[in-house]
C-alpha cells in the first residue's frame, strides 16, 4: 500500500506542540473572553450610578494595594517554584509553592475584609446600584478564579508532599498548571486599573 517513497519532509512529525500547552492556552483564551464581557460591562456602567454609595467614597486604596502587591509578587514566587522543580530542588519547590499559596490566600482574605467593610460601613451591596452590581460581580468573579487557581496549586502541593511529583517527568506539567495562576494575575491588573483607577470618578456626572 505505501508505495510512495516518503520524502524527508513527509516523514517528519508535523506536530511538535504540546497538547497540554495548547489546551491551557485555549482555556486561558476562553476565560479572557469571559472576563472581557464583565470588563466591558463595568466600563459601560462607569458614571451611571447617580444614587447610592459612590466609588470615590467607598473604595480605598490602602488595603487593595497590599493585596495587589501580594498577588502580583506571587507570580514571581511561582516562577521560582517551577525553576526549583526543574533543577530538582524539591525543598525549594515546596517552599516557594507554599509562599505562593499563602500570598494567594492573603489576597482572598484581604478581598473578603475589604468587602466586609464595604457592606458593613459603606452599605454597598450588589443591590445598591449599578456600581455595586458591577463591582461585586467583576471583583467576585476574579476572586472566584483566584480560588480555582489556588485549588490547582494546593493540589500540586499536596501531590508533592506525598512524593507524587517527579521533577524530571513533571516540571513541564507543573509549569503549564502555573500558567493559569499568571492569567489570574494579569486579569487582576486589568480589574484593578478599571475599578480602582479609571472607575474612581464622580458618579452621576454623565447622567
Amino acid at each position: 500500500m505505501t508505495a510512495l517513497p516518503a520524502t524527508t519532509s513527509n516523514a517528519r512529525l508535523t506536530a511538535p506542540l504540546s497538547r497540554a500547552k495548547v489546551g491551557m492556552a485555549s482555556l486561558i483564551f476562553m476565560e479572557s473572553a469571559f472576563f472581557s464581557a464583565f470588563l466591558v460591562t463595568y466600563l459601560y456602567y462607569i458614571g451611571k450610578s447617580p444614587d447610592g454609595p459612590q466609588p470615590l467614597d467607598c473604595l480605598e486604596l490602602n488595603l487593595v494595594l497590599v493585596n495587589s502587591v501580594c498577588l502580583l509578587s506571587s507570580s514571581i514566587t511561582v516562577v521560582l517554584a517551577v525553576r526549583s522543580l526543574a533543577r530538582g530542588a524539591m525543598g525549594a519547590f515546596r517552599l516557594w509553592l507554599a509562599v505562593t499559596i499563602l500570598l494567594g490566600l492573603e489576597f482572598l482574605l484581604g478581598t473578603g475584609y475589604e468587602w466586609w467593610g464595604l457592606i458593613e460601613d459603606k452599605g454597598l451591596t450588589i443591590q445598591s446600584n449599578a456600581f455595586g452590581t458591577n463591582f461585586y460581580s467583576l471583583v467576585g468573579f476574579h476572586a472566584f478564579h483566584v480560588v480555582v487557581g489556588l485549588v490547582l496549586l494546593i493540589g500540586v502541593f499536596i501531590l508533592s508532599l506525598f512524593g507524587c511529583i517527579n521533577p524530571a517527568r513533571d516540571h513541564r506539567r507543573v509549569d503549564v498548571a502555573t500558567w493559569y495562576w499568571h492569567f489570574v494575575d494579569v486579569i487582576w491588573i486589568l480589574v484593578f486599573t478599571l475599578v480602582y483607577i479609571v472607575g474612581r470618578v464622580p458618579q452621576g456626572a454623565a447622567a
Binding site: 516523514a11 508535523t14 506542540l17 497538547r19 495548547v22 482555556l27 483564551f29 473572553a33 460581580s137
Partner: protein, 535 residues
C-alpha cells in the same frame, strides 16, 4: 454501561449524535404544534402561554441541544480519524463535556415539571430563545422557568467549551506524520475555526447569563432600566454570542459539503487554499456583525451602517465557498447518491438563505422586515436548508463508517425528496407572509390579513417533512440489522477515516498512518500518480 463510562471519541460522538437526534424529534414536535395552531386564522389548539413556551423551547432546543451536539459529535467522530490520531487530545475531558451537555439538556426540559416555583406547575421557559431584557426580569418572568433556561444552557455551554478546547488541541497536536496544516481535510479546518468561535462566543453568553442570574436571584441591576441598567446591553452581549453561534452551526456543515462533494464529483476540492482562507475570514468577520440583529433598536446611522457593511462583507468569503463547490462539481463525474443529493440541496438552499440575509442586512429593508416571518423564513433556510441538510448528508455518508452497514439508498432518496419538498412548502411561504407584515411569535392572527393561504401552505409542509424523518428513522433501524455490508471504503473516498475498518477499532489505526498529500488515500490507491507529485 460500557457506553456510560466510555471515553472513546467514537462512542461519545455517537451518543452526541443520538441524543441530538432525540432532541431534534422533540423540538420538531414543538414546531409541529405551532404550525398546527397557525394553520388557520383564529385557531385555539394551544393557548397563548403554551405557544410562547413552544417557540422558546423549539428555538433553544434546536440551537443548543440539536445543532451544537450533532455538529460537535461529528467533529468528535471525524477529527481523530481524519488527522490520523488514536483519540482526542483529552479523552476524559471529552466525556465530561458530553455529560455536561446531557445534564444541561435534561435541566432545561426538567422545567416542564420543575419550574412551578410559587406560580403554578408546568411552566417551561417562555421568553424566546434570545430572552430579551427586561422580559426576563423577576417582574415579568415569574416562577423559575427563566432560571431553568439560564442554568440549562449554562451547563451545556460549559460542555461545548471543553469540547472546543479538545478540538483545538487535537487538531494542532495530534496530527499523524506528514499531515501538515494545509493537507488537513477541510472538516478539520472548519472545526478548528468553529472551536475558536466557541471559545470566543460561548463565554460571552455564560457571562451574560451569569449577570441575568444575578439580576434574578441576588437583585443586581445589570439589565434593569429603572436603575439605569440597560436592556440594550443584554442584546449586545447576547448577539455578540449569537451571531458567531450562527457560524458555529453552519461551518461544520460547510465541512461536510467540502468532504462529500469532491467524493461524488470524483474530483479534488476546487481551490483548497482559498477555501481555508475563506473559512478563517468568516471566523474573524463573524465577530463584528452582531448588531445587525439590532437595527430596529435605534443605534443610530453610524452603527447601523457599520454593521450593515460588515454583514455585506461576510458574503464575500461565503460566496467564495459557494463558487468553489460549484467549481468542484464542474466537469466532474457526478454521482447523485443520497449524501450528494443532500449537499447539493444544501448549496441551493443556503444560497437562498444567504441572499435573504443580504436583504436583511440592508438597514431600511430590515426596518420593514425585522421580527416578521420573513426573518423566520431566512434563518430556517440557513439552519434547516443549510445545517440540517448538511447533517443528513453527513449521516448518510459516514453511517457506513460508524456501523459497518450502508443506509438504504432508495429510502434515502425518499427522505431527501420529502424533506426537500416539505421544507420548501413550509419555509418559502414565510417570506411572503412576512413581507405582508405577519409578525413572528404571534399565537394567532385575524382572518382578513391575507396571511391564511401562506400559513396553510406552511403547515401542510410539516407532515411531509415528518414523513421524511420517519422514513429516515425506519431506514436507520432497518439498515442496522440487515443493511448492505459497507466494507472499509464504500464511496471510494480519499481521506484517512476510510483507510481503517468499518466500524473502526477502538484504537482507530493499527499503525499510525503517514500522510503524503491532501488526499492520503488517493496516493495509496494510485501509487503511479500520487497527489504528492503536484504539491
Amino acid at each position: 454501561m460500557q457506553w456510560a463510562i466510555s471515553v472513546d471519541h467514537k462512542k461519545l460522538a455517537m451518543m452526541y449524535i443520538g441524543a441530538g437526534l432525540i432532541f431534534f424529534l422533540v423540538a420538531g414536535i414543538e414546531a409541529a404544534f405551532m404550525r398546527l395552531q397557525l394553520a388557520q386564522a383564529g385557531n385555539e389548539i394551544v393557548d397563548p402561554e403554551t405557544f410562547n413556551q413552544l417557540f422558546t423551547m423549539h428555538g433553544t432546543t434546536m440551537v443548543f441541544l440539536v445543532g451544537m451536539p450533532i455538529l460537535l459529535g461529528f467533529g468528535n467522530y471525524l477529527i481523530p480519524l481524519m488527522v490520523g490520531a488514536r483519540d482526542m487530545a483529552f479523552p476524559r475531558l471529552n466525556a465530561f463535556g458530553f455529560w455536561l451537555f446531557i445534564f444541561g439538556g435534561l435541566l432545561l426540559y426538567f422545567s416542564y415539571v420543575g419550574a412551578d416555583g410559587l406560580y403554578g406547575a408546568g411552566t417551561a421557559p417562555d421568553v424566546g430563545w434570545f430572552a430579551y431584557a427586561p422580559l426576563t426580569s423577576r417582574t415579568f418572568s415569574r416562577g423559575n422557568s427563566t432560571d431553568y433556561w439560564i442554568l440549562g444552557i449554562l451547563v451545556s455551554g460549559f460542555g461545548s467549551m471543553t469540547t472546543a478546547i479538545n478540538f483545538i488541541a487535537t487538531i494542532l497536536c495530534m496530527r499523524c506524520p506528514g499531515m501538515k496544516l494545509m493537507r488537513m481535510p477541510m472538516i478539520a479546518w472548519m472545526m478548528l475555526v468553529v472551536a475558536f468561535l466557541v471559545l470566543v462566543a460561548i463565554p460571552i453568553l455564560t457571562a451574560a447569563q451569569s449577570m441575568l442570574l444575578f439580576d434574578r436571584t441576588l437583585g443586581a441591576h445589570f439589565f434593569d432600566p429603572e436603575t439605569q441598567g440597560s436592556a440594550i446591553l443584554w442584546q449586545h452581549l447576547f448577539w455578540f454570542f449569537g451571531h458567531p453561534e450562527v457560524y458555529i452551526l453552519i461551518l461544520p456543515a460547510f465541512g461536510f459539503v467540502s468532504e462529500i462533494m469532491p467524493t461524488f464529483s470524483r474530483k479534488v476540492i476546487f481551490g483548497y487554499p482559498l477555501m481555508v482562507a475563506a473559512t478563517v475570514g468568516i471566523g474573524f468577520i463573524s465577530l463584528g456583525v452582531w448588531a445587525h440583529h439590532m437595527f430596529v433598536v435605534g443605534l443610530g446611522p453610524v452603527l447601523d451602517s457599520f454593521f450593515g457593511a460588515t454583514t455585506f462583507l461576510i458574503s464575500i468569503p461565503t460566496g467564495i465557498k459557494i463558487f468553489n463547490w460549484l467549481g468542484t462539481m464542474w466537469g466532474g463525474r457526478l454521482q447523485f447518491t443520497t449524501p450528494m443529493l443532500f449537499v447539493t440541496g444544501f448549496v441551493a438552499m443556503f444560497v437562498i438563505g444567504g441572499l435573504t440575509g443580504i436583504m436583511l442586512a440592508t438597514v431600511p429593508m430590515d426596518w420593514q422586515l425585522s421580527d416578521s416571518y420573513f426573518v423566520v423564513g431566512h434563518f430556517h433556510y440557513v439552519l434547516f436548508g443549510g445545517t440540517v441538510f448538511g447533517i443528513f448528508g453527513a449521516l448518510f455518508y459516514w453511517f457506513p463508517k460508524a456501523t459497518g452497514r450502508l443506509l438504504n439508498e432508495r429510502l434515502g432518496k425518499w427522505t431527501f425528496w420529502l424533506l426537500f419538498i416539505g421544507f420548501t412548502l413550509t419555509f418559502m411561504p414565510m417570506h411572503v407572509s412576512g413581507a405582508l407584515g405577519m409578525p413572528r411569535r404571534i399565537y394567532t392572527y385575524e382572518a382578513d390579513r391575507g396571511f391564511e393561504i401562506w400559513n396553510l401552505i406552511s403547515s401542510i409542509g410539516v407532515p411531509v417533512q415528518m414523513a421524511g424523518v420517519a422514513i429516515f428513522l425506519w431506514n436507520v433501524g432497518r439498515s442496522l440489522r440487515r443493511g448492505e455490508v459497507a466494507g472499509d471504503d464504500p464511496w471510494d473516498a480519499w481521506t484517512l477515516e476510510w483507510s481503517t475498518s468499518s466500524p473502526p477499532p477502538e484504537w482507530n489505526f493499527d499503525r499510525i498512518p503517514t500522510c503524503t498529500s491532501a488526499r492520503p488515500l488517493w496516493d495509496r490507491k494510485h501509487p503511479e500518480d500520487p497527489d504528492a507529485h503536484y504539491e
